[in-house]
Subunit: 310 residues, 2 copies
């Protein structure tokens, strides 16, 4: 294949126009040439929901060597992963906005925005710093990696609790779930960023909350089911912990009239760690970088392990 | 002077016990030996308000070679700056919490906490990122430097408007006040972090606000007088800008009944960018580092320019 051929990139389908346009622009910005699928060396798939159309498009693409999928989770495309091609996805791209939201919720709690925002006269002066704080994160995936990166200059001391004790770069300590109690005991903020599994469901219960510092905040950006909601209501009501910032709840959406709405030091956001609007420029940037690398014959980012299927 | 003598450090006065204790601990942690003032090679001054006692203490200190003052502003001690000694202060120490508060207020606005926090049922999903955003900062001092440091991994594009066009590290563009209009035109957030002077008083007026993007946030952590409050009320009411995050106001404290309290997209905090509780560990850390450097005969941090008086 000549280097000219590598420049020919198809973007399809057009069913999600904003994503199509953003990916097309990224291809052009990277020095690619938008090409019909029949002549394209690579395909940027522009609609995560349109998996049903995918086989037909790929069949009409004899030159195709590389496929970029739009989301981090590719379960809809798992049956299509032809090992003779290179596959990339949005792996790691969407973790960054969620990590940013962890920081937004933590700062909101530490800086008492939950009391200042509803105030109608000069509130009491109070607050504390995330700078230099002890942060414990449950979960060692992409969100935690992004959080460690974003907080790199903040002199924080991060303990990570994950399945394996393999250290994460930037963490002062990495432990397994066996040591969770000691890992949360001295934290100023405990962040839940783990997948919801049979093992993790309800892990934040009354015992977990009692093991936390009484001036610590709990932040959940993962799934509501990791927390026993009734135990959290009790802990907040009784001052067992200082507050909670929840981007996910159980039940979700949290119904009107639920007791959590009335607890001042519980900050609730409607599952907006990563919104479609935030994700679009991020996946477009992934496309731009990968097309540049593809043209330069450099290794692509976000490679799918075809055998493992993710 | 022998290296043993250099270890002898006095902390005085005792009128502010929390600061005295924190500084004393920092001296010990750094390997210093708490010493009476008559035998001390260095003095850590532990009460910014007690300038009147200062000359008497220094007179009783024949061995004194270095004085560490507690605050960044040293105007109370300006008459005491004897050029035969080395003087250091809290320069740069307190900027970091204020920079953190800029990030707290910006994220609160971008992540719609001003609508989520008062909500009593699942709010609308909305939000945008500080990650990768265009940030314009008015002022090129320590707060701006700290902000650039804290946001270093955030892929942001920062334009700095300052008196001289000398570039700040980490900024993509540094301009003077002559170019302020173009500097704020494409900003997602405009941060006011300048000193209040005759030149800057009221600089954020109706024209300034109209020159901003209508989806941009205005953040003020400097002094309320930099903004014409009535013009800001109008701009927020008429949708000229997206919102404002104010840690300082004019008048301050903002009186109950002031129209700003009723504007949903105006987030007001009670001048808590840096609180005494936040500052104490920071000045203690400065003391610890400087005592280490003093003992090791390395250059001290936060040197006062005795001729200039700051």
């Amino acid at each position: 294949m000549t280097s000219m051929n590598r420049r020919r990139i198809a973007v399809a389908p057009t069913s999600r126009p904003a994503m199509f346009d953003a990916m097309m622009q990224a291809v052009i910005d990277a020095g690619g040439e938008p090409a019909p699928i029949a002549e394209a060396s690579a395909l940027m798939w522009a609609d995560p929901a349109a998996a049903a159309e995918f086989p037909g498009v790929v069949e009409a693409a004899p030159e195709l060597e590389w496929v970029q999928l739009p989301y981090a989770g590719i379960e809809n495309f798992a049956d299509q992963l032809d090992p003779s091609k290179t596959w990339t996805c949005g792996k790691g791209v969407y973790a960054e906005p969620v990590a940013e939201h962890i920081i937004a919720l933590t700062l909101a709690g530490f800086r008492h925005l939950h009391t200042s925002i509803p105030a109608r006269s000069w509130p009491k002066q109070q607050g504390r710093n995330l700078l230099g704080a002890n942060v414990t994160v449950i979960g060692g995936g992409g969100i935690t990696e992004s959080l460690l990166t974003l907080l790199e200059p903040w002199r924080k001391k991060v303990t990570v609790v994950r399945r394996s004790a393999t250290p994460l770069e930037g963490a002062v300590r990495t432990v397994t779930m066996d040591d969770v109690t000691s890992a949360i005991a001295h934290a100023d903020v405990v962040v839940i960023a783990a997948a919801l599994t049979d093992e993790t469901r309800g892990m934040v219960d009354a015992d977990f909350l009692r093991a936390m510092n009484d001036d610590a905040w709990l932040i959940n950006v993962a799934r509501g089911g990791l927390i026993v909601t009734d135990d959290l209501v009790d802990a907040l009501t009784e001052g067992v912990i200082a507050g909670a910032g929840l981007d996910v709840t159980d039940p979700e959406p949290l119904p009107h009239g639920h007791p959590l709405w009335e607890i001042e030091n519980c900050i609730i956001t409607p599952h907006v760690g990563n919104t479609p609007e935030m994700g679009l420029p991020l996946i477009a940037e992934r496309v731009r970088r990968n097309v540049e690398r593809w043209i330069a014959e450099e290794p692509l980012v976000g490679l799918v392990d075809v055998e493992a299927g993710y």
